[in-house]
Amino acid sequence: MREIWALARKDLRIEARSKVVATQIVPFAMVILVLFGLALDADSRTLRDLAPGLFWVATLFASVLAIQRSIAVETISSTFEALRLSGAPAWKLFAGKALAVAIQLLAIEAVLGLGIVVLYRSSFQDPVLIVTAAVAATIAIASAGSLYGVLAVGMGVRDTILPMLLLPIMMPVLVAATRAFGDGLGTAALNGWTWTGLLGLLAVVYATAGALAYAVVIEDT
């Protein structure tokens, strides 16, 4: 676990110094919420009903930027090669990078949560369900993103290909997280825990696939 935490702490420390997430990605995500509100030209009731989906679309777009930043931290200094040279198992490198992305995404989601309360007048009817669904979805996004981010580096077109790779496989997460939030925010008569269970399964699948595949994809960086 030492290596995993060291890697995550390193990325979080770099973010604390560079403030890319705080000054660029969070405002970008908030702008998406505002733009949706303006584009839909909807009353507060409609926006409240659409809030779960808009929240997760904004989160997914922000996650692409957060993952690109996580990868850029390594490519700027050619440290992917140093990570390979470290001798640490690839799955630990994957877990460390994914953990840092997940923590940053949770922070972004917390701000977006406040955003939908303020902008869309949403209310958290079932906070436990919302937090559980958010954690499971975040693990799934961070896991798939950390794997596909490195894969994109290996393809040599990292900045443009990542959304094309990542967003399609995020569709199940988007659907399940939106349904779970629909229940948690009281905007849809659904069993949110069933959808949260699906999110948990997706998190396990993406995290396991990432841990297993990282050793292969990191060789091409």
């Binding site: 030492r2 890697l7 390193k10 770099i14 090669e81 140093a82 390979r84 001798g87 640490a88 060789e219």
Partner: protein
């Protein structure tokens, strides 16, 4: 283990160009080998292959008894590669960089300040890498290699970008490494600087070793 490095008929392709074209080389443990040759001869690729970073297309290579093709992680954990890129995080301090790489290498117990003092960088320990000069970054990168306590040092132009004092530090570290029983391979164009330290010289051209000579066997007791 007779040889720290045993390479036979190694072919490494960069894209489709054979950067190593059937290179063979055997290096005894505890020796210092200067790898010399013109630009594009394959020196850097040889070091990267020995570090388990450049895959073999053909041939075989063992480093410290580990097969680079089938046991790359064990190879990587045992070698220290100083490459032209410093591989330091600009937003971290030197001490944070060293601490991070020491933890990843499983050397939590390393004395970071002693490592920095060895390269005369202790006063800059809490300074972010982005604020350092090229030579200072190079010294910090050398400290990162040293804290890994590698059994095989792979140094690619280690004196580049360093002032006289920095060059002396590099020479001292090579001598320390040999005294600790490690093996050192230095790819360099600064022949006058490295030759006095070397026990062997491998002349590389066109991706193969053209000549291998013993120049100063007494330097390491080899």
């Amino acid at each position: 283990m007779d040889h720290a490095v045993d390479v036979h008929d190694a072919v490494v392709l960069l894209d489709r160009f054979p950067a190593l074209a059937g290179l063979s080389l055997k290096l005894r443990a505890g020796t210092v080998t200067l790898v010399q040759g013109p630009n594009g001869a394959g020196k850097t690729t040889l070091l990267r292959m020995l570090a388990g970073l450049a895959p073999l297309e053909r041939g075989r290579a063992t480093v410290l008894g580990y097969d680079v093709a089938t046991e790359p992680r064990l190879v990587r954990a045992s070698v220290g590669l100083l490459s032209p890129q410093t591989m330091l995080y600009d937003d971290l301090t030197i001490a944070e960089n060293l601490s991070f790489w020491a933890t990843l290498a499983g050397h939590d117990d390393v004395d970071l300040m002693a490592a920095l003092e060895r390269v005369s960088m202790a006063p800059f320990a809490d300074q972010q890498v982005v604020t350092l000069s090229t030579g200072q970054r190079r010294r910090a990168a050398i400290a990162v290699v040293a804290i890994r306590r590698p059994r095989l040092w792979l140094l690619d132009e280690p004196h580049a970008g360093l002032d006289q004092a920095g060059r002396d530090v590099v020479d001292g570290l090579i001598e320390d490494a040999i005294a600790a029983g490690a093996t050192v391979v230095v790819a360099s164009h600064e022949l006058d600087r490295v030759r006095p330290l070397a026990t062997h010289v491998a002349t590389v051209a066109g991706g193969i070793v053209h000549r291998f000579e013993t120049v100063n066997a007494g330097a390491s007791g080899a």
